[in-house]
Subunit: 273 residues, 2 copies
């Protein structure tokens, strides 16, 4: 079983109630890799018996530190329209007093995708194929387990090898796929939208404390396009926007190797100093 | 009283329960201007007696068509940390059966902003001052009331004057402020993040049915920066990303006339054909 499938395996004892377990394979420094949490939340939507259509949008708010261990996801189809469905999600864990505590909140939209005029104003950057780039070397100070769950081939803006305060800009481009390779689906794509290390580390070459507060993924790919992408590489790009008084944001794009825009993403991140 | 202040006036009869009324002044074609709804939801957070800090993020999901008339907003501080607070919001209106129906869902983050290293990777585009550009002429087919609540001075990518199928790209830049002028605050800034007509109209010069499904605003400005901006103009920019099978997204930036990045925004929009 692929580690991602193990990580997003959920059991359901009651309608809209899902039980899961944090994944050691996708552990980050002091909590789970946020992309894995996003994938678990999306998986709850997709496993829900009332789910209609395919994911269009997912927004995850990392409200509190998640502990290692079991968790519960509540997935509620708050509104079902003719062709769109709006979801409210909550991830809970037992608190110090044993009572369920809200750890993560999320909202999602699923929809029937119908063939329409389509286009992209985010053409894939012109880069060489994945084989032209070496696999990422992790920095000595930053080697969380989840990092090994991806084959990453940085093109530009790899994690700084020296924390020397140099300005590296904030653009990262890399070829990316699950390790071991796994056919792309919506949870995997949601997770990939969070692979970018904090832009402030790249921008300042300083390993300051930082953590994602809120993450959004818009899915442009439907299941047919994901199937066509298969186990191929994904070109992932992120760029910072504003950094001010403790928070910064970035926007990101993910393309198939064939050049189709699969997803766009944004996140706002807390940082210190 | 400024029309925006009238529009976002909420009364609270119980903790976290707010009552408001849709605004004829900010009416769109078949429902309220989504920016006004975003401002009302944010106002509920700001008026909540337990609110800590200032807005960092707001995500609004337009789950169902909102009717003209009264509404209720439920604002819940789902998690309060040392320096961040996570909010869950719901806007309800009586349904056909008189029972409250969920119309809009939202999540927000407020936080204590502390002075840190700050920078921008979205420098303001080099454009002439507001007085150099004429006020927007509305297209014959598109003149909703809310459009008159803003002074808009398009620089590039104004709403097409002819629906002739020409490709205008998807970039819009305009100088923007409330009409009449009003000192900028968080609800006003949230509303401004939604002033962009659907990118698909500009991209195709076709007036196809379109409606925002989900909108996110990240606030880079704190109240001190908003106060410094005052009644000045805001430079607003939006650009489409992907358009595929019934949905497209855009990202947007808003700067003060002094060149400070005030907010970034993203939305995913349903479109037909």
């Amino acid at each position: 079983m692929h580690p991602l499938d193990t990580a997003i395996a959920l059991t359901s004892a009651a309608p809209g109630q899902f039980s899961g377990q944090t994944s050691p394979a996708y552990w980050n420094m002091v909590g789970p890799f946020g992309g894995c949490t996003a994938a678990q939340l999306l998986q709850a939507v997709l496993q829900h018996p009332d789910c209609q259509g395919e994911p269009v949008s997912l927004t995850v708010h990392f409200a509190a530190a998640q502990q290692d261990g079991p968790f519960t996801i509540q997935a509620t189809p708050a509104r079902t329209n003719r062709s769109t469905q709006h979801w409210i999600l909550a991830l809970l864990q037992p608190g110090a007093d044993g009572q369920p505590q809200l750890v993560t909140t999320a909202m999602a939209v699923t929809a029937q995708r119908r063939k329409t005029w389509s286009a992209s104003d985010q053409p894939m950057p012109r880069v060489a194929p994945p084989s032209a780039y070496a696999q990422a070397q992790v920095a000595g100070d930053f080697k969380p387990p989840w990092f090994s769950r991806y084959e990453m081939r940085p093109i530009e803006g790899a994690i700084p090898q020296k924390w020397d305060g140099a300005d590296h800009g904030s653009l990262t481009q890399l070829w990316l796929r699950d390790a071991p390779a796994r056919a792309l689906d919506f949870p995997a794509l949601a997770a990939m939208a969070d692979v970018f290390f904090p832009r402030v580390w790249l921008r300042r070459a300083r390993l300051v404390p930082a953590g994602t507060v809120a993450l959004t993924v818009y899915f442009h790919a439907d299941s047919a396009l994901l199937a066509a992408t298969g186990k191929g590489h994904v070109l992932a790009q992120a760029r910072g926007q504003g950094y001010r008084n403790g928070f910064f944001d970035h926007n990101a794009q993910l393309w198939s190797e064939a050049g189709d825009l699969l997803a766009t993403s944004h996140q706002v991140v807390y940082f210190k100093e």
